[in-house]
Subunit: 286 residues, 2 copies
Amino acid sequence: MTGGKPAQHAELALLLEVAGTPKPGNVDRERDLADLRFEHFLAGAVGARPGLEAASEGEALGPAILRAVEGMSEQSGGNTQFGALLLLIPLVSATGETSPTPESVTDVVRATTVSDAAAFYRAFDVVDVRVGEPPTDEDGGEVPDVRQGSAAVPAVERAGYTLYDLMEISADTAGGDMVAREWTAGFERSFEVATRIEKDEGPVTDRAARAFLWLLGEQPDSLIVTAHGRERAAAVTERARSLRNADEAEVSSFADDLVEAGVNPGATADVVAAALYIALARGLSV
Amino acid sequence: MTGGKPAQHAELALLLEVAGTPKPGNVDRERDLADLRFEHFLAGAVGARPGLEAASEGEALGPAILRAVEGMSEQSGGNTQFGALLLLIPLVSATGETSPTPESVTDVVRATTVSDAAAFYRAFDVVDVRVGEPPTDEDGGEVPDVRQGSAAVPAVERAGYTLYDLMEISADTAGGDMVAREWTAGFERSFEVATRIEKDEGPVTDRAARAFLWLLGEQPDSLIVTAHGRERAAAVTERARSLRNADEAEVSSFADDLVEAGVNPGATADVVAAALYIALARGLSV
């Protein structure tokens, strides 16, 4: 695909991400989880598109995220691409005549308001997202719990947090959320992985799978930290790193182990989806 | 997905169709062909959406088909879903407050004009589609060759063929094109397969694969007839029929044989995509 609009590239990034295989611990072209299947990801990507289009047309980040998450959720698998959309919406919003850059996407996320934060909280009404305990801000104040969804909006508004403020607090938390770290560090990992994908060769879905394994070996996945603790996340990272030059059978065996254990490096997959979008926006063709 | 718009359902139908496996002879979740890969179908579905949206918003069938085919073709695999779009565009166009019916879609295709026929010919400029020799009409006149694309438009206009006229001629030809037969017979097979999918159980992609095998055993695939002759197509139908109660391993072995032999029952896949759309439009959820 060349010359497509940003929303098309973003939707395709979601589809290419889930189609890459083997992608240890995640749903991929060859693996379903018990209640979360490949087809839920297909429907999630298709459903997210109106929100992605809204971002492309200049809608504020919070409402665009809410709309994309609502659309994504119109399938029975639950949360498929929430984290990926939190990365894609600002990237799409930062795409204009030219492809997004670390600077342009940083400008976009820094410009978010309290009303974007409120819409973000409302998105948690729509779908169950696995998150940890609420972090505390630099003054030791407890940030309203996103798991309360819209019920927490008045508290968010009283505290005057913008969506960027919230991401900054989450990024600074021990075991900091990978998506929040992207927001506050110029989408560094996303751009780094995009360049890897561009320099790689062969089918894009294979490149996505290799990029996923590489990133998983670089840093503990924050979704695994939340669900299974730091030690487990570190062990997964170590094994991923040891498999960098392994053949596909060994990687597949790792993939089967993680699926069996219910260990899902979902945050790493979110960053790969963002990286695929950047690469497509910069001209990568399928 | 529930309550989505027709264009979303149509795009999702394309994605669910290609994700079904095993789907003997076609690209599926587990199989790529040499130069035609799963990722090309993902990009084709994403790219087709603006054309599907145009149809949903009332654009005439020919221009909507042309737009969908143009978008579908923005990937390097070539023709991925041309035939499926020829079925989906009228079905989407016939979807309003209620889901499409054999009657409503027949009204839509019968209302096509010479200008729709011209746009259809122009779509052949965009992508290489495997078609047979041009048929002759009932007076023995030779129908302009679609393989000439836009160069044939003046001849089409002189002859005054509507798009429906052209489909009627193709449907009546020996080994008649399955897509053309759907147009002229109230999308009979598409509705029949939709009902099978609705009555089936389990993941929708599995239902799609079973529906594909069933339909392949019902009638020779017209794309196989064009590419390999009637005898080969009949043999494939016979084997598909014999596998109706077989286990997945036997069906997979059939799938591998067809891929190896380069035998691609693409027209059967097109009808399954149309059937998936009808089922989604009638309320099937993923």
